[in-house]
Symmetry: C2
Subunit: 502 residues, 2 copies
Amino acid sequence: MKSNQIKELKKRLLEIAHLASISRLLNWDQEINLPAKGADYRAASISELSAILHTKLLNLDTDNLLTKLKKEVDSQKIRGKEAIIINETWRTFDRERKLPEDFVRELAEVSSKAQTVWIEARKKNDFSMFLPWLTKIVKLKRKETEYVGYTVSPYDALLDQYEPGMTTAEVSKTLDNLKVFLVPFLKQIRDSKQKINSKALNGKFPIDKQVEFNKKILAKIGFDFDAGRLDASVHPFADGLHPHDVRITSRYALNDIFYSVSSTIHEAGHALYEQGLPVEHFGTPLAESVSLGIHESQSRFWENMIGKSLSFWKYFYPSLRKDFPESFTKLSTDDFYKAINKVEPSLIRTEADEVTYNLHIILRFEIEKGMIEGTINLKDLPKIWNSKMKEYFGIEVPTDSLGVLQDVHWSGGGIGYFPTYTLGNLYSAQFYQAMKKDIPDLPKKVAEGNFIVIREWLRKKIHVSGKTYTAESLVKKITGENLDSKYFTEYLTEKYTKIYNL
Amino acid sequence: MKSNQIKELKKRLLEIAHLASISRLLNWDQEINLPAKGADYRAASISELSAILHTKLLNLDTDNLLTKLKKEVDSQKIRGKEAIIINETWRTFDRERKLPEDFVRELAEVSSKAQTVWIEARKKNDFSMFLPWLTKIVKLKRKETEYVGYTVSPYDALLDQYEPGMTTAEVSKTLDNLKVFLVPFLKQIRDSKQKINSKALNGKFPIDKQVEFNKKILAKIGFDFDAGRLDASVHPFADGLHPHDVRITSRYALNDIFYSVSSTIHEAGHALYEQGLPVEHFGTPLAESVSLGIHESQSRFWENMIGKSLSFWKYFYPSLRKDFPESFTKLSTDDFYKAINKVEPSLIRTEADEVTYNLHIILRFEIEKGMIEGTINLKDLPKIWNSKMKEYFGIEVPTDSLGVLQDVHWSGGGIGYFPTYTLGNLYSAQFYQAMKKDIPDLPKKVAEGNFIVIREWLRKKIHVSGKTYTAESLVKKITGENLDSKYFTEYLTEKYTKIYNL
């Protein structure tokens, strides 16, 4: 009887997983293939599917199926993997049932249209064009926090969706601590006599040759092209439709190959996680990622700890030189390494170095917390943004396209998402420490091009477990400790002390 | 009350249209983007969506909504556009309700997997690999004819889905008549002393330059790139997801640019129809094509009557020469025209000339009629195929890839589809005759590059009406007569008498 109920639950979950995967395809296609005039109809299609998904989620509890199973788990009659499936499904269901169908439909449709408007507004550098849509989004997201409920800040209700168990207060504390380290550390670097010439990276790199080089890296670090693909888009992203269909995008600049390489490695980190989820559990939380923060730990780990390490380029630089001899013959591996790690306050988050990156997140977190808590007037957003950029980075924002309009998140309704980037950085440094203990001579292995040992460690320690552990318990299990930002600050200190002779 | 009911019907129809459009996207993506390992999960996704679509179709009659409205139409209380919407929806619903949900799901899943197998089997030239899947498909399609019902031949039940109102007996008669004309006409051509050198078309055409040339043609004949796109696939196809999102594919051969050009123009004919459907009626039969035969009349019209006419190349040949001077500088427009119209029995349907093309259809129709009526043993298919090729074309089939495995239709469950190709040819010739009466100096206009006058005629006479008229009544309305194959045979006679000095 009980096993029949679990079988029925899994059946319903699998249907939902397929629909969710289709929904992601609609979004992916919108970014990559959709003709201009198709935006409105696509928004309607996405909204239609969201409504069906919503109904299917609610139907998980038809005949009280889920309620009954949850009781069995709570009374410890069901344990182990099945308990995880039921608990995690309950979490999702419990949030979903609080949202009325009309609301879900409206949010999906508004987000889809707002993304199209955002692309135009960014192109035209016109915040006023985007403002009415952002206003709609924020209003809907505040409504969502009321539906979902919260005890302290309404922002908690949004954050919890991306980083289960994390609170606004904890994030505030963590980010404040980080600021206390970052500001003087950045000052030290800026005062250093060691100047790095990142112009050395500039050249002329035909896009098709860049694509080939990016694919070479992807194949080498273990991305499975039979279970995924690489495309181009304005804002790079990774989309795991299924462990056998993981799609990433990169972006290309003719004069700078590292612009695409760093994006590609970042998204590959996400992709390796998605490809590493246990396909036999597809449809259940056992084949889903732990949280966005843990997801980001994978992308940031590959992008920074590996992709911006000297060992990585000891292996790949000869190949880069061979493909682009005009640009790199005269540049030493060491100078290349320094150039790609130059620290410099800059306007664009996704192009920021490892040291300043989290200041971008702190800025966004403060602003979106204010948007949701209602302490910020949306029409003042460019002004607020620009003044914080001045305060934290010491730089002026010349246009909104390079400021408040730069990120896709808000247009897509993704408020509460940004802090997970910084959490990802912190997790990644702590995992890296544990990995170095487990794998002797890690830098040497990387320099020899043995990346599979890394992928397998991550797969075994993180990917294959799906949602078996929470972020908190996973960190504890792997590293023996709770999340501690000291691993990240130690990592930065060690790396940049050498680079900048601090 | 009545208007509320119609409003409710339209709402339900719009939901269905969005899901159908999503389903087409899944198929399109499968052909264009899906990684190899994704085939199984994609099949499951498609099957999931088919089941939902099926349920939604049946739900059209929740509270007897559709039954009530149909009664109002039958008693002439509802007329005009609304009556058309209700009648056509009833037709679809009535077929759908006869099919059990499990059957629909199974057919969708089997078809999706069979297509993947077919691609492999064709590549490996291995019919035995495809046979078990074809067997499943035919068994399911025969089951479908029993569910749907028929009076004379089970094949009627399949044909009716693609060409409403047409019967197996009528098709048999029409195709037999055509054979009576084609066989002696082909003999006349083969006996002609006029020999055409189609090798003159061979050259070396970089694919990216071919794509550009194809796009040039598409833009000129009125394909809207803001509402559609062109990609590449093994088997070219057109997919109208929505009037604002119409996707076509072409195929490319390095040594022959006309190979892609003729495909592109053919698919463009389909695409112009889809882009011309009245977007304001999206979701209702008023924004759907009349039938596959009428759809094919549009593609064949553009491909042959226009795209293989001397006037067309008077306009485009200078541009082709400019883009590919090495191949065409020495070839006159007239010799180019003759080369692209060379008549020659050949193995591949999609590469056949206008004269032999319908013999390919006759062969397929006879075989699939036999498959469905149960008079053919599927394992004998290659033998039967090859002996008919010998009988009708006088040629040997060297491999199954170039024979029975060449077409995608059967693997996708599209049995009953082939005859609509020939019907399309017949319709197109009859429409062409009417167009020439309406538009003075048509060849001159084409030679001047004025294609929009053609697109507008087709749009006004055919596209904007959606399903307002049946194929039969549309032909009558536009040409004043019933469908008559004499227009097609006259067209062939006039054109090829000149080319072959008959």
